[in-house]
Symmetry: D3
Subunit: 279 residues, 6 copies
Amino acid sequence: MNTLRTLSAAIAVAASMSNLAYAADPAYFTQTDKLRMTRDAQGVLLVEMNTNGGPFTFTAKAHDAFVDAFYHISRDRDNKIVILTGKGGQWMGGIDFASFGDVSDPDVWSKVHDEGTQIVENVANIRVPMICAVEGKAWVHTEYCAVANVVVAGAGATFHDAPHFAGGIVPGDGIFTTWSYRMGPTRAEALLLDPQPFTAAQAKQYGLVSEVVGDGQAVARARELAARYLTKPEVTRRNTRTYFIAPLKLALVQQTGYGLSLEGASAAALVKSMKAAKQ
Amino acid sequence: MNTLRTLSAAIAVAASMSNLAYAADPAYFTQTDKLRMTRDAQGVLLVEMNTNGGPFTFTAKAHDAFVDAFYHISRDRDNKIVILTGKGGQWMGGIDFASFGDVSDPDVWSKVHDEGTQIVENVANIRVPMICAVEGKAWVHTEYCAVANVVVAGAGATFHDAPHFAGGIVPGDGIFTTWSYRMGPTRAEALLLDPQPFTAAQAKQYGLVSEVVGDGQAVARARELAARYLTKPEVTRRNTRTYFIAPLKLALVQQTGYGLSLEGASAAALVKSMKAAKQ
Amino acid sequence: MNTLRTLSAAIAVAASMSNLAYAADPAYFTQTDKLRMTRDAQGVLLVEMNTNGGPFTFTAKAHDAFVDAFYHISRDRDNKIVILTGKGGQWMGGIDFASFGDVSDPDVWSKVHDEGTQIVENVANIRVPMICAVEGKAWVHTEYCAVANVVVAGAGATFHDAPHFAGGIVPGDGIFTTWSYRMGPTRAEALLLDPQPFTAAQAKQYGLVSEVVGDGQAVARARELAARYLTKPEVTRRNTRTYFIAPLKLALVQQTGYGLSLEGASAAALVKSMKAAKQ
Amino acid sequence: MNTLRTLSAAIAVAASMSNLAYAADPAYFTQTDKLRMTRDAQGVLLVEMNTNGGPFTFTAKAHDAFVDAFYHISRDRDNKIVILTGKGGQWMGGIDFASFGDVSDPDVWSKVHDEGTQIVENVANIRVPMICAVEGKAWVHTEYCAVANVVVAGAGATFHDAPHFAGGIVPGDGIFTTWSYRMGPTRAEALLLDPQPFTAAQAKQYGLVSEVVGDGQAVARARELAARYLTKPEVTRRNTRTYFIAPLKLALVQQTGYGLSLEGASAAALVKSMKAAKQ
Amino acid sequence: MNTLRTLSAAIAVAASMSNLAYAADPAYFTQTDKLRMTRDAQGVLLVEMNTNGGPFTFTAKAHDAFVDAFYHISRDRDNKIVILTGKGGQWMGGIDFASFGDVSDPDVWSKVHDEGTQIVENVANIRVPMICAVEGKAWVHTEYCAVANVVVAGAGATFHDAPHFAGGIVPGDGIFTTWSYRMGPTRAEALLLDPQPFTAAQAKQYGLVSEVVGDGQAVARARELAARYLTKPEVTRRNTRTYFIAPLKLALVQQTGYGLSLEGASAAALVKSMKAAKQ
Amino acid sequence: MNTLRTLSAAIAVAASMSNLAYAADPAYFTQTDKLRMTRDAQGVLLVEMNTNGGPFTFTAKAHDAFVDAFYHISRDRDNKIVILTGKGGQWMGGIDFASFGDVSDPDVWSKVHDEGTQIVENVANIRVPMICAVEGKAWVHTEYCAVANVVVAGAGATFHDAPHFAGGIVPGDGIFTTWSYRMGPTRAEALLLDPQPFTAAQAKQYGLVSEVVGDGQAVARARELAARYLTKPEVTRRNTRTYFIAPLKLALVQQTGYGLSLEGASAAALVKSMKAAKQ
């Protein structure tokens, strides 16, 4: 009986495995469907954030899944360059707040806090050159993008911090740390306290974006840069990434835990005020 | 009418002022009755924590009042040396948790967080040599003591972190930072995770206490040290304090906000679990 | 006799109290006439630096008074937003050096050092969104402005570091730290070593100013921003400020004491060279 | 054909799965046989380092496997307390240097560097109280132990840094950082430059060990402490660990990469000198 | 006999001494011919990097000599202002890689690492205002320039990082730290990963250059600034430099050793790959 | 004529050169007679602080000379191990305050400040294992000793901070930083505020001393340790030193400048009070 049940489970695993494009792809490529991962023969890993193959909406489940996904990406030495992008013409346009449940519950927020501090460290620990390729809206969690070495944006891309101060909570998850690092604190504070979308051209002028290309060309340009990097020795590529990202990683390690705790307290206060308003 | 009312208020102020021991004493000496302050002709300020003149029990009101009291002490250049001690044979033996109200309320904890980060900075900003004189129980908020330059303890004194892990919350208010600084992290972690009183002799061996004297002699010995310091120029005294406390102040600035946020989340979880247990 | 004297003093207090616009205003609102403080029903505190109601000239007395004033502002939870501005069409245009006395006297400078390190920390510890509204000359102590989250400047405003290198002393009081943080170190060093006024438009391009408005509109625009912030929960507002200012506060804690000491030594050298020149 | 091959592989997976003690155990429990993991009903995870069930010898394969193992442990919220120990009466007594291959090859060392920096961060990121239980020899990689909150050692345990300076390479992998943090730099430098075993009693006096128990009692005592911790709310436990380990984690993030690079250079020099000696 | 030999050596010394322009010049002025040093009556030291009096090519010998040269410059209190420039219309246009020998030899790289960390500290320790005057190509080691307080560039000057990523090694010697400090990390990362010359105007816009002047006017403009600084007291000048450079010095102390170690590993990997390619 | 004068100077140089023990010794060995340097065939450099070959008294001239001496020692790759000791049975027993001149003169103190910050960095930059061998009194500038990796003391040695607080000035030159690093801040603060000699045995218990040997055996024991270190590859030795000293060097870079500034202000206050007392 027991053997039969195990066998049946194994067959189910085998069935799911048959969906893999390449038998050789590591298991984490398909651990979450929020991230579509494909790797070319040179080891350039394309990571596409998506919801059912279209524009990506962030959820609590993605928050959890991204932690491990970025970890596995960082650990896999077969990845030589990482390109992070979206799908369906958008980088990340929205977030499903309700999916997080009652954020005033300390046990709920404890999970958010722990995952949130870990996720930015895991992205920073990707030890190969990382390029963020942006099309459309980059309105949520652009700190993942800002931890790349280079950000290429389509001309029509827009950047924004939609979910925090506008929604009544502290921008505490790494967005202030990374925006301040890339754009300077004056711009980061103004844009986070009075949030509104800004263009790719502005983002380049501010320091968040490295180059602006034609709409729809961001990934192609990222691949060009990747090809250039690949002419250098692997140790050079890995060590350069490690060295360049170190100061930002340090800032994230020092600031993100506290930021998420302050954000959690503000979320609890928001829920309290909403409940009071209902009465 | 208005004038009369104002006059009447002024007379009330005048009446309260007549309770002052010396007309020359600054107003903050009597701003809170939790701290009895007396200053001798040489400028040695004795600060006695007390509840109605006897052993001191910490309260939410004291938490608020101490912030300002230590600030005013730090600002008053007529203070040449500061001695912090208790009253009634105890340094600080207990805490009235209920006085803090519902610590799972984010607005309540916001006040605790803000005051708690400020209070340790204000003690650190006392820019004259500071001596902590301990008799009896130092079971609560010994971080105020650990921010002194010298800690003199009566032989029967005991040290403890009574309110945190034992009570189900994170020791996040400066106690870990200061104990770790003074006693090393191994001892701090063990004593805070498995809290139990330790003696003055142990505290000296560990590095929290500078010297142990006979019971009841701590303040007298502190005065001896103060007299010795007073033979040096004032700038020497002020600058030495400023220089010596700088590394600990920096650690408190870097760590205490986060610590109090983590403690607040744990307090909310504790309240939640207690409510659940009641049902 | 004694009672009469006390009563007489009380009446004097009462008389001064009658100048208060609102009986409910806290005492620190009128502790120094260098800062005119008014607070609207929403808790927006307007702080106007002034000399006798007109353009403000900085003095040693203001240096002392500002320490406490900013402390009290930071401690008063009835302040929901703080706007710092000048009066008479100027933010701060001049300084009365003579008021500081003999800055080569180590006791005199000790006071400057202690106040100077404390004042920037107290501004940084204002735990609600802070807006600096600039009209006219901001030529002295613009570090107070740079510790705000947002700086709104009238089109005709000019920025400058008038008193330091131009006057022969080190810019050590926080101006280098804040200018470098906001404008980058290259600009800060060039502007401080070869000091000359720069316009609001330049200041915006450099990163010191967040937005430029029509002359005379700075406070009005600050109130608009304040109104927008006030739609968010209080904990969100306080925690966002606390989080955003933390890196700059840390830099000030690490750098300002040394800066003021180096400035003090340069002041002593300046006095020495001036005495030598006279002979 | 292809389907058959996939099915066959699935059956192999199923077969290996039948070795799991509990069907509910997560997959990482058996990802490496170097770490035997068992978890009781209260969530206390016992991690036993071992070689074929006996005393553990460190290898290059373990270096790689431990990175992921500690990561998965840190990510699994079903772990409430983690106890790290050895097997066969030894914590970790030896290391198989040859398994690392040619450490003077920059590609070989690049892997060591990357894994080595990641492994100590992953242990530090275990966000529940962690106890290290030591019996016998703890002669290799005791930094994993020193990143626990509490170290319980059997009376006959001995501590040592066997593989570094004695073997001709720099102690750069975290051992200096953690020993210095726990025992003070003077002791760490002396013991690492002139390496020789020291007893559990000495280790306790120095600050590396929290308590000494009878031989063979370390795990039992760790379970007692774990049981005590488990009476506190989960958020309290997680946040206390997070808070306490933060300063050491920060030091590891700042120092370990450089340390491993310096160690790598010394390994290359050692290989060079050994080759020269052979000729 | 012995006396004769000594006398003969002394005569050789005397002969070389007769080449000195001024008998009063300190010995380090002529310790290396790579740096031509001349000092005017006001103490403005002009340091011209050169190869045989013409455009300078960097070599291993210069790497060693610069360490001491900058140290001696920093120690000589007769230097009141330091101007660093090139010769023959170029700042530093090229590097002779072969002069470094086999950079995959750990003993060779150990010297590079030790000198490289020391050289940037020695430049940072120059405790008088330092101006970098750039004409032509500044394509190598521009970090020496970026540690000045002010950078004046001729309109036709170009900036570049020619030797690192383009050559297959990590930009680890201070160039990332200083470029990131002056131009922000986004620009630094993009320009270092995809290296190509940029103009003086761009360099000014980015923050690396303080002012752009006509071609051939950089040193003259530097002398103008120097003359202005010289009107201030010497302690003011020294302390201002010390204060302004402190944050960058700290970053260099924290980052350069690791950077050079990572660069050394990449150099070893490059040599390995080149040897493999030859076979 | 000119040739004759040059020849005559050359002969004088030759004469002074004949005093060198070994023609091969580098010039810095004899640059100051305060430090007698001898190096054995294995490259162990013995540095003996002395006054005319006997017990050493510190002077302003030594303060200046030590800066360069330690720099040259750090730069000379022929030094494989450095042993720092005294002469005539004393490490450093006294200081000649008068030799510093008028320490209230800002120009005088500027030199002290600049040299004092540089000297501890130069000792920290000695990139080979460094051993401090103490006999007799180590009463002055023991921070040079505490920057060694290992301190060996004769049983009768005594440690003390004689010149600072006892003399009325701030212990700001590195002694607090190093004592706090080695002995913990509680002990450092107590011993510096109430200065009195402590024994070698106490110093070992506190963490300042690594081992205690028989009187007169300190250098011999240091040579034994040196011989043991010399069995390791040179890169291992250099890199281990570099790695171990990094945290203390960082603390010295961060703290010593400010400390010396605060000490300078206190010295000015002391002189002022002494002048006032005379009147």
